[in-house]
């Protein structure tokens, strides 16, 4: 607690909260997009995140941590995950949309089990660290404190992804089609739109975001098995807080998650995890459909 009287420390935690939040946003935005359009709770999103981190690790290691290898790793993660998502959606999920929610949900759980073990077979069970990317391993002098560059860049990428997604969703034709798919898929099909293609596209883009998020997280965290199971729950918290399918909701939810986690660690050491859940419950009591979500229509 007394550490909160130290302005340098508070500054650190403030910046850490933002970079954690922005990293989480990149991942959660993909999940939220898939939830909003496909109405599928995609447990595999966490596994895709983990796979992205591992792919980045492999590229960086293979290139001996050369300049630019990290960014190549990020691109590779996006490409590999997009390809995996394409196989998962076209090969299986595609045939399950007409079935009940439980089927789709358990299908994504099956993907989690399979991908988790595949990652173990490929990369083993050791913990790995990815160094800060070449040229971004220094610190910025704020006058009263030094702060590492990489988390700053990460925060910038998060904001750029948010603005980019917002522009794409609100200003482009494809964005309008995707938004229409969240509102009324039958009407969209009746208008002659190839709805299955929209689904495939959204699933691929969302999963690529998980891969990018995982690659970008690699220098921040220990890359190890099991990182998929925790991240997915944290993403759900963010998406529930923000409201399903809402971009800015996820943005706000991710920031809130970052702050609660980083300052929770200081104020209630060890209980920061519980704090995030309590925040989510508080919001749900007030607005069950999340901050920016639409009230649920009673189906049936």
């Amino acid at each position: 607690m007394s550490m909160l009287a130290n302005p340098t420390f508070v500054f650190y935690q403030f910046m850490n909260s933002i970079s954690l939040g922005m990293n989480m946003f990149i991942i959660a935005a993909g999940l939220s997009l898939i939830l909003g359009v496909l109405r599928v709770i995609n447990f595999a999103h966490g596994a895709f995140f983990m796979f992205g981190a591992y792919v980045c690790l492999s590229v960086v290691t293979y290139l001996n941590e050369a300049a630019g290898s990290f960014w190549l790793g990020v691109v590779a993660a996006a490409v590999v995950l997009a390809a995996m998502a394409l196989v998962v959606e076209r090969g299986f999920l595609h045939y399950l949309y007409e079935r009940e929610h439980l089927t789709q949900l358990l299908f994504t759980f099956a993907v989690v089990l399979i991908i988790g073990d595949l990652a173990k077979m490929i990369w083993g069970v050791d913990m790995y660290n990815v160094p800060y990317p070449y040229g971004l391993d220094g610190a910025v002098d704020f006058g009263f404190a030094l702060y590492p560059i990489y988390p700053l860049v990460l925060s910038g990428i998060g904001v750029a992804v948010a603005v980019g997604m917002w522009l794409a969703l609100s200003k482009t034709r494809w964005g309008r089609i995707i938004r229409a798919a969240t509102q009324d898929r039958e009407m969209l099909a009746a208008l002659g739109m190839n709805v299955p293609m929209v689904y495939t596209g959204v699933f691929v883009i969302g999963s690529a975001l998980a891969g990018i998020g995982g690659a970008l997280a690699a220098p921040r965290v220990a890359v190890s098995p099991g990182m998929d199971a925790t991240i997915i729950i944290e993403c759900f918290i963010i998406v529930i807080i923000g409201g399903l399918g809402s971009l800015w909701g996820s943005f706000l939810g991710a920031l809130a998650f970052g702050f609660v986690t980083m300052f929770g660690t200081v104020i209630f050491p060890d209980w920061e995890l519980v704090l995030a859940y309590v925040m989510m419950l508080g919001i749900l009591l007030w607005r069950p459909w999340g901050l920016f979500g639409q009230p649920e229509e009673d189906s049936h």
Binding site: I41, F92, L105, F107, A229, L281
Partner: protein, 312 residues
């Protein structure tokens, strides 16, 4: 309330008798395996009240199993309470936790409901994980003081047989009462059920509580059987595993999940002897069920039987 079919009575008497004879075979391994299977059968059947009968997908059911396990273990060991108080108290607490969580969850439906149960389940996991002085944190709560009269594996087997037998009988009665029938009506068409005067929210809340309570019984048994309770038992992947058990057997029949639990658990124990990659096997099994066996093993058996009858 419908009358209990004679065939069912005969069948269950036969199963009970066969189970009661298991220890006479003298195999410790078989006794342990049967004890574990019985506990998982109860766990899967409890889940089915919520998922199969009332059609609410929960991904946080392991939490009540863990609450039952932890409470019973802590009351027995830390507080030294007798079993006759600890066990019912554990079940009661699991039921109360389900009542509390259910109060919030039933306001939502479908995927919102599933996500909320998941989040609450993980909240309970996080508490068990972080409340180290009471639960032992990630080391688990080890060294449970199991009363001497059920201290060895044979007496514990019979204890489990009695508790699970009574619980399953009670669950059967609940599911085949007016309450159970109304649950099915709500599952099939919530709005119509509401129109004929059913308070659908209260009914779903009741199903939530029943499911949580019986999961608590299974959890309390499991904690005593293992002489320890571990935080992994509350993790969301455990909730996923028990859902797969129910699905494998068949969600829309009473005994389907029991069959699914027995088959899947036996498979897990068998496969774990050969490889550490049980999850990938489970994933492939799950894929196969989803793609080819939507109604589970019971559904498959019925399909085969109708074909057989048609030919005959």
């Amino acid at each position: 309330m419908q009358a209990i079919p004679k065939r069912l009575l005969l069948g269950s008497a036969l199963v009970l008798l066969l189970l009661a004879l298991v220890p006479t075979l003298g195999s410790k391994y078989l006794v342990d395996l049967s004890t574990e299977i019985m506990i998982y059968v109860l766990f899967a059947l409890s889940l089915n009240v919520l998922v199969g009968y009332s059609g609410n997908i929960t991904f946080g059911h392991a939490a009540y199993f863990a609450i039952g396990g932890y409470t019973c273990a802590i009351l027995l060991t830390t507080y030294g309470w007798p079993l006759i108080i600890s066990f019912p108290a554990a079940v009661l607490l699991a039921g109360c936790a389900a009542a509390f969580v259910g109060y919030f969850c039933i306001k939502l439906t479908d995927i919102y409901f599933a996500m909320l149960t998941l989040a609450f389940g993980m909240l309970i996991w996080a508490i068990a994980f972080k409340w180290r002085p009471v639960t032992g944190g990630d080391d688990g709560f080890v060294g449970v003081d199991v009363p001497a009269f059920i201290g060895d594996r044979f007496s514990f087997f019979y204890f489990t047989l009695v508790v699970v037998g009574l619980s399953v009988a009670l669950l059967w009665l609940i599911c085949h009462s007016a309450f159970g029938r109304t649950l099915v009506a709500v599952r099939e068409n919530r709005m119509r059920a509401g129109f004929v005067g059913v308070n659908t929210m209260r009914l779903r809340h009741a199903a939530f509580i029943v499911a949580g309570t019986f999961a608590g019984i299974a959890g309390a048994l499991f904690g005593m059987y293992n002489h320890g309770v571990y935080v992994e038992s509350a993790f969301w992947t455990e909730s996923g595993q028990v859902l797969i058990m129910a699905l494998l057997g068949g969600l829309y029949s009473f005994f389907g999940p029991a069959l699914g639990a027995a088959v899947l658990y036996t498979l897990q124990v068998g496969i774990n002897q050969y490889t550490e990659y049980w999850p990938i096997v489970l994933g492939v099994i799950l894929l196969a069920i989803l793609m080819f066996l939507p109604d589970g093993l019971i559904g498959l058996a019925q399909k085969i039987r109708t074909q057989f009858i048609r030919k005959a």
